[in-house]
């Protein structure tokens, strides 16, 4: 412990100021906030109200209307069912595992159309799902008022998310502009067994299974048991969802640059 006595020998501040200065500060603040403290009384007023324009400009450091603070806000999602290709990427990338792919109307009986259903009780609003969505159909809006008295109402079905889309809320522009993935789906031929799983599950149908010649068996050599077909990916239709990679039972598909 330092010697308190030596420190006390030279008082740094006048005791009157030690009391008077903070009290003056408090009085000044009291006078300033007597009629209007800076609290925004939330359920009755909102930051978006025009009367808080100045304060928003100060907070965002930008003029109002150019980069409003809530422009890149991550609120409730909006889903455009019409353009969703059921690629499963959103559910795949969700760190909270709160997206379920559920069947919606509009698919054929053989390939039911599945769209994301989000449980907002678990969602952390990270935005990974809308980042991952290759079609830009799952984006985040600025709506943040989701409280409900029932837990079951926290689960938003695709139709409900679609309704959010049609309510034309401002969307997060950052989530709409996405960099292109230049990589392609490549195949490691010796591993492939020609099972058709990738072609069956590809949401865009850009994989075709082409026949490959069955090689002659050398004496003493046993040919692998497989179907003599190989997937060929049409790069211009592929949306880089990665579904084929995740369904491949032999892990023979991978990302790479096509030579």
């Amino acid at each position: 412990m330092a010697t308190p006595d030596s420190a006390e020998e030279k008082p740094r501040e006048n005791p009157v100021l030690w009391v008077a200065r903070p009290m003056a500060t408090a009085a000044r603040q009291f006078a300033k906030s007597l009629f209007r403290p800076s609290t925004i009384i939330y359920p009755y007023e909102r930051l978006e109200d025009p009367k808080f324009r100045d304060r928003v400009e100060v907070a965002s450091g930008k003029p109002f209307g150019v980069g409003r603070v809530w422009d890149n806000y991550r609120g409730v999602h909006s889903l455009n069912i019409a353009t969703c290709i059921s690629c499963n990427l959103c559910a795949f990338s969700c760190p909270d595992i709160c997206i379920d792919m559920v069947t919606v109307a509009g698919g054929d009986p053989k390939h039911p159309k599945k769209c994301p259903q989000i449980d907002y009780g678990k969602c952390s609003y990270c935005g990974f799902c809308s980042d991952a969505c290759p079609e830009g159909c799952l984006t985040m809006t600025t709506r943040y008022e989701l409280s409900t008295p029932k837990r079951s109402e926290m689960i938003y079905s695709p139709e409900k998310l679609n309704a959010v889309f049609h309510s034309k809320l401002p969307m997060n522009p950052i989530r709409l502009a996405r960099p292109d993935n230049e990589d392609s789906i490549l195949l490691d031929p010796p591993l492939c067994i020609g099972c058709n799983a990738c072609a069956r599950d590809c949401p865009t149908g850009c994989i075709t299974m082409l026949d490959i010649p069955k090689p002659e068996a050398k004496p003493g050599e046993k040919l692998p048991r497989r179907i003599w077909k190989e997937p060929v990916v049409n790069d211009s239709d592929c949306v880089r969802c990665g579904t084929c990679i995740s369904v491949c039972p032999k892990e023979c598909l991978f990302w790479g640059t096509r030579k």
Binding site: V19, M23, Q29, F30, S33, P37, T39
Partner: protein, 375 residues
């Protein structure tokens, strides 16, 4: 108006109740309207009115503190329950009263339960003996100031008893700090009171108030006022002298182990003591329920004007306590004692000296003369 006092009102209520009862039950009429029975019930009604008034004021005081503190901190304080959050504290109180009282396993039940109760009861007693206006008082008590201060200094005992019987080291530390602090600050506090008593020439609070008819004592006895307010802050354990609670070091100080209703007792008693402290400042230095003669008569003669002005002054004084709380940080123990012994004690001696001088010269320039000294 001077004939209507709190006791006469209670007596009227009591006799009204008893006469109605006697009307309903004719055989008991004679027994019920007996003078002793009426007096007994009148005292009871008197107590109930005092209790209700003190509870109401305490809860309003908490609201006042929350609002003021909010404004000083650039926010709003309670605002949803009732008009401007006036009923918030009632809601909080009901919540506390509904909670289970948890008693630590090793705690001493007798002290654990009697400590807070006695603390609260003595605080109520304190409110009962203070005159609020010419009508609202508990009769003529020639030594009411001494009685009030004596009851006021019961508190360290009860705090220490509850802290000791909680069987928790933080409680015990808080209790010891509380006792040490209150005893240390009693000396300058009483000396400041002595200054007032010298000038007023009486220990009766009513007399002290009437001695201030020419000028309030805060002007000539400003030094005593400063010492008294600082001592009161320490006695009430409010920031910057809230070492016994010291949330940052001692969890919650001496009431760490208390929850539910017993915690509500402590809370109520704390604010009651704050109320009493503010009332004492008003009585001793701010002229009690009287107003200066330059105030227009219409403002001082309406019914209950005395109580109104008294309470207005009390809330303003408490507002100053809140202002201090919002501005100053908590002092360390050594600073606490240094302020107490090195600064407040000499100041209070100076205040006594000034008071003696004032009594000798009788008239001081900007204020005027004392009324009828030495009768």
């Amino acid at each position: 108006m001077s004939t209507v006092t709190l006791y006469s009102v209670s007596y009227d209520i009591a006799s009204l109740i008893l006469h109605i009862l006697g009307f309903i039950i004719p055989p008991a009429n004679a027994a019920l309207t007996n003078g002793n029975v009426v007096t007994g019930l009148a005292v009871l009604v008197f107590g109930v009115i005092l209790l209700a008034a003190s509870m109401l004021n305490t809860i309003l005081l908490i609201w006042w503190e929350r609002k003021l503190l909010g404004r000083i901190m650039d926010r709003r304080g309670a605002m949803h329950v009732g008009y401007a959050g006036l009923l918030q504290n009632f809601a909080d109180g009901f919540k506390l009263f509904r909670k289970t009282t948890v008693q630590p396993r090793e705690a001493d039940a007798l002290g654990f339960f009697s400590g807070p109760t006695a603390y609260l009861v003595t605080s109520f007693l304190l409110f009962g003996i203070l005159p609020i206006s010419s009508g609202w008082n508990s009769g003529i008590l020639p030594l009411s100031l001494l009685l009030a201060l004596a009851i006021f200094s019961f508190a360290p005992l009860f705090i220490f008893v509850s802290a000791w019987s909680s069987n928790n080291k933080y409680s015990l530390m808080g209790g010891m700090r509380s006792a040490a602090q209150m005893i240390a600050y009693e000396v300058p506090l009483l000396l400041a009171v002595v200054a007032v008593v010298i000038v007023a020439g009486s220990f009766d609070l009513t007399t002290i108030v009437y001695e201030q008819q020419n000028y309030w004592f805060w002007g000539p006895l400003f030094v005593a006022l400063i010492v008294f307010v600082a001592g009161m802050l320490a006695e009430m354990e409010r920031i910057p002298f809230d070492l016994p609670e010291a949330e940052a070091e001692l969890v919650e100080g001496w009431n760490t182990e208390y929850g539910g209703m017993l915690f509500a007792f402590f809370m109520l008693a704390d604010y009651l003591r704050a109320l009493v402290g503010s009332i004492l400042v008003v009585l001793l230095f701010l002229g009690g329920w009287t107003m200066p003669s330059w105030v227009p008569g219409a403002l001082t003669t309406f019914p209950l004007a005395g109580i109104f002005w008294f309470m207005a002054k009390t809330y303003i004084v408490f507002g100053v306590f809140v202002w201090v709380r919002a501005s100053l940080p908590r002092v360390r123990t050594d600073q606490l004692l240094r302020v107490g012994w090195n600064r407040l004690l000499p100041l209070s001696l100076l205040a006594v000296f000034l008071a003696a001088t004032l009594v000798t010269v009788k008239c001081v320039w900007p204020f005027g003369c004392l009324p009828s000294m030495g009768t």
